[in-house]
Subunit: 408 residues, 4 copies
């Protein structure tokens, strides 16, 4: 395993860090204030467009995208090169969109790059790469456990040269974003096909009749700016050319999409954990009940040490997964991807919890980013499948390594 | 230890349970809808007054208050008798106010009962016992660790026949309640007195000039209806007769107040944990990814078993603390009170976390009470002092039981 | 729930505590020395007989036995009365045998009391009650998971007026005890009967031809004095009158036997945990690396506090189970018995682990009882069934409390 | 970070693995039998000399030693190259001595290589490199917390051209080894010097008058073959030329010695954890209580998955520490060395505990290596300093990264 960073990557890290320190972190308060002033949690704060312009100007744009030839702004980094950058972005919830590296647009852009027709790329991929529009990924459904993709009930039915879509989706991120223009929707074209050939993906413009964003789903009381929508698709009719790749390809596309998505989440989660630890350390030195700083107390020191140990470990595991993806492919990295999917949020959640404890009740409020970070880390244990599904897969792979031919 | 329930208590439990099933739980959705319709999280929903009237009618009113002679509505229960009732209330965040058993009014009513002058009782205690007004307890301050009460910086200065108050408080629960009429405020009358004689408590009517409720403090993104206020007191002038008990009595009153307060929190937290476990069990039987109910999986069964084991244990520990308070007094129950203060929220938080995991991403939203319950359980690890302060006290008491005279 | 201790019980507690302080704890070193001198870990140290005589003299004999009419030495205590006594005994591994309250003799005496014929009682029960002989309980078998009793493969076959036994047992406690005289053996009389009617129990004198104690099973390297034997039964022929209760009654007897056995283990485990905490507290005050006692460090204080909290909780849960057994019977106490079976060893193991950490490497040696205590607490998570089986049972009981009629 | 393995290292890994499979693992039972037959746990089993000869013949000798020029048998591997080899050795407690890579001889050989005079190297280092003799490291003392090296009380006093040593040491590994020939002893030459200049190290031949090995210290009931001795040094007189490096150099030598020692322990601990997981997986597939293999149960699958995740993480952290030691030196790797010192035993202990649970009570006995492995992993949390000391150091380093100039 070789995860030495290239000069290009090191240079990007420095520049991204500078951008974070000079622009993104100071913008957090401005962003909060602009939302408050607008009286709308889904308001597209002007400061975000300023950040985007600055990131673009600095060449910190589309860093996630592995294919340099798709767009002049794309440096075409490997996963090993992108990982430290995603970690840096993870320190602020503004950074991913500011650099056009935010989910689910990243995954959608990858899908359109790999599977889109030239027309689909022209109409949707290019504006996405420019950051002009936003997209959503309509996969998860209420009332069914989405850890089992065959549960999907949304129908995509052929009707002449169109497809007609009926179903209800939720946790459709970006659904409340003012710049949202389209969905990539997963549904069933053929419920009678083989288990993994029933699903297809299709592009659905937001303004198609029958599309209704019913509500935003709050997360622990937070209304995220981009929004997680519950979206109704009623007799939504789109041209057959909107289908991606072909009927029955949905499951395969989803698999291709999830690997990078999961590791990007893990990378950012490490940045989140680092920021929580930093907040913890600073606060623990500032607070002095009973006459000495909390940081001098051995239990808090244990928390700090364990946080450092565990962050080191999840970063290395993430890097290993990234390196495997770069060298042997996403498929053969699947145990490591599952492992980091489970490990990173668990570590981050615990560190944020302890940082809150050191902050006193203030840590639960908007005065610090901790409660928001907690909610994010916690949801990461569910996003892209609950921990338990990933642990089951890891266990099965492990058991296969120790065959017991004569077992009862 | 004898925690047999009296007939009166058993009867009250049955009646309270019926009230919960018939009125309170069904009112939760109504309450949420009334807040939404009002567009104000601090709106006093009409359904709450209906619940209060019904509770009063059913004789389920002021159950918390130990002194039957203070008001005809007060049954005068022991802590052992009240505990199962408080647990039942803990299943719904509406129940405490509906039965006039909500913090911090309960603590304030106890303070006024024990230490109030007849005039103070007439003006504030009786309307509180009637549920006509609400009160707040202004103790915690931003910027200082309130686990160390001597840190309090708010000043209460004598000026003729008045006191003048200057300071800033936060986490002042009820501060956003439309029925709020007064604060009991803790501040320093004599910064030069002995460490535990510097503080006093004083009644401050809400409408006194100089009192400003600056903002509500959200908890994990939730704006609680009653509100946790940041409140500014600038040159607030109140009659000297508003002082409670006497100058320098603040610390002693606070100690008297905290014991019951902590155990009431613990009791309700058990109810919360029970409800989370019930939600977990129901959901785990309903969800069937990969063809069998989640409840059939051994890891989820372990979660359920551990939840049951731990709920049993925190309930018994709460009952022991209650029984000690009833029989030997709050002071000699302090280890047990501290123990349950630490144990109950920890158990509840874990159970809610697992219930959320079983609910999938929906568990983080308003569709289930779980995220709200999580936030509540988590804050309980901070309210009335962080766990670490209570563990320190328990450890010191324990070490004293094992003296080592010749230790280096 | 009323667990007030009777005067008799309080008196016995004081007398037992005095016996522990004056005789048992000082005898630990003597016992170790006598074993060392004999060069045999299974040597019956003379000090044990001295302790037994003293206990008998003091009326601290057969305290476990619920039926006073069986023997003049039996006070006939309830479970609630016996629990604190068993806890006191649990502080020293010598105490149970010294007071004739050691497993598995206790369980065997209960079985013979309830199900034995007058002849069986005369020959085996009375000498056991006198402490003249020891017995073993041959149930667990190698190679099969004994959590599932139907797995038992040992055969008990009728042949004329005798039964012939063939099988291999292990974990047969007391197998290496010089005073061992008989086994109560569980085996199958009818493999074709209903699942719970296949097994029977039978008395097997040690000196019957075909009985071979193959070896002692060490526990974490410790050879326990009484021994846990692997025992071979080859064509062992005993009179048909040795059968207990009747063919097919084995499972029912085992159930009757296990309830009290599990709770006795739990009670003693609490005493073990208390002693570990005491050792921890004393050592933490004596050790002063870096110039201050370890006991002053906040992480060690957290350990102490958590230990106190958890010991309180497992004691209360044990008492509840005892009280239920006394008032509604073992069967209706089964959730609580399972709960304490899981909770007590877990708590004790953790406390001993932390006590070892405070003792430094010395804690792993024979200089302190901690390593021995650790091994004991750890094995308690397996004895009478692994935790996982009990958690499964608790979960199923819990799920039944929340029926979901329309679940998929 | 680049931890690609060289061809040489990969070749050695294959050869070492073959040696393990063909010789070491099969020798475990032979070794146990030879000890049993000898009736002496410290017997030097002949099979060990056979293993040593075979390892030497295969070129698997002194792999730990970084300096190829010291002896023809030394390949001179980097830490990154040695790490996977040490992990492989960690699978069997016989492998380290069989390959002449066992502590504390490894550390002693490093000390003599770096600091020994030609005469000291001739007399002690060469026989050690040949595996002809064994050495011990006499550092830890009873009655003082050895986490604080300044606590050492053993005196080394100059008297003419000799030094006279008085003191008591314990946990002196190899003290019961029949091949033991000398100690490297740490003691104080000048108690009045600066804190870190008081100590010196000196060579003490075993046969020097005044040296008494008092006893072996068992670990959880296990008497390790090589032995952990309590050793008395009474007026032990050795030539002044036996001093290593110079008076006052003891602390500096100890620091140089501990870095590699800790990481070697961590590497081997990973091998131990891997073996425990393998045993767990095999057993879980073989055991079928209630009709299906334990491995099919979701809780056991969670254990397996968590074990795999955590082993991956501790291996990567170990490799990072090794790589830092190779590239920037032991001193700048100290946080990572401390981190892996804490993390590896914790993970291994947990995995072994779960493997035992899957093995049933048999897992506690000599029938499986698990109890022995548990004892080893547990002691690793104390060897070279308790976890808490290392966590304190990590926390302090972390806090220094976040200076708070104006903190109260």
């Amino acid at each position: 395993m070789n995860i030495e960073q290239s000069e290009r990557s090191q240079d990007l890290q420095q520049r991204l860090q500078a951008f974070m320190d000079e622009h993104v972190l100071p913008a957090e308060a401005v962003h909060a204030e602009q939302l408050r002033a607008a009286g709308d949690p889904h308001h597209h704060a002007p400061v975000m467009e300023e950040l985007k312009a600055e990131a673009r100007r600095r060449g910190l744009w589309n860093l996630f995208h592995p294919h340099a030839d798709i767009h002049p702004s794309v440096p075409g980094l490997s996963n090993v090169e992108y990982a430290p950058l995603a970690e840096i972005m993870g320190r602020s919830f503004l950074a991913p969109e500011a650099t056009n590296c935010n989910a689910p647009d990243t995954g959608n852009m990858e899908v359109l790059t790999l599977f889109g027709t030239p027309e689909q790329q022209e109409r949707w991929l290019h504006p996405l790469l420019e950051g002009e529009i936003r997209s959503a990924f309509a996969m998860t459904e209420p009332d069914v456990a989405s850890s089992d993709a065959t549960n999907i009930s949304t129908r995509i039915e052929r009707d002449g040269d169109a497809y007609v879509i009926n179903g209800r989706k939720w946790w459709t991120t970006n659904a409340l974003h003012p710049n949202l223009r389209c969905f990539i929707l997963m549904g069933k074209t053929d419920p009678d096909a083989d288990r993994h050939r029933q699903q297809s993906m299709i592009l659905v413009p937001l303004d198609t009749p029958g599309v209704t964003v019913l509500r935003n789903l709050p997360v622990f009381g937070f209304d995220h700016t981009e929004g997680h929508g519950e979206v109704l698709f009623e007799n939504v009719r789109v041209p057959a050319t909107n289908l991606i790749a072909g009927e029955g390809e949905g499951f395969a596309i989803a698999q291709a999409r999830l690997g990078p998505g999961r590791i990007h989440h893990a990378m950012r989660t490490i940045g989140l954990a680092e920021r929580a630890l930093e907040l913890l350390c600073v606060r623990a030195q500032r607070r002095t009940p009973f006459g000495k700083p909390i940081a001098a107390r051995a239990n808090v020191q244990d928390w700090i040490a364990d946080a450092r140990i565990e962050i080191e470990m999840i970063r290395l595991l993430t890097m290993k997964a990234a390196w495997l993806m770069d060298t042997v492919g996403n498929k053969r990295a699947r145990t490591e991807i599952a492992a980091i999917k489970v490990a990173a949020p668990r570590v981050a959640q615990e560190i944020v919890d302890r940082a809150m404890q050191v902050h006193g009740a203030g840590g639960f409020t908007e005065d610090f980013p901790l409660a928001h970070m907690y909610a994010h880390a916690r949801t990461m244990r569910m996003v892209d499948g609950p921990d338990e599904v990933h642990r089951m897969q890891i266990a099965r792979d492990e058991l296969r390594r120790h065959p017991v031919p004569d077992a009862a």
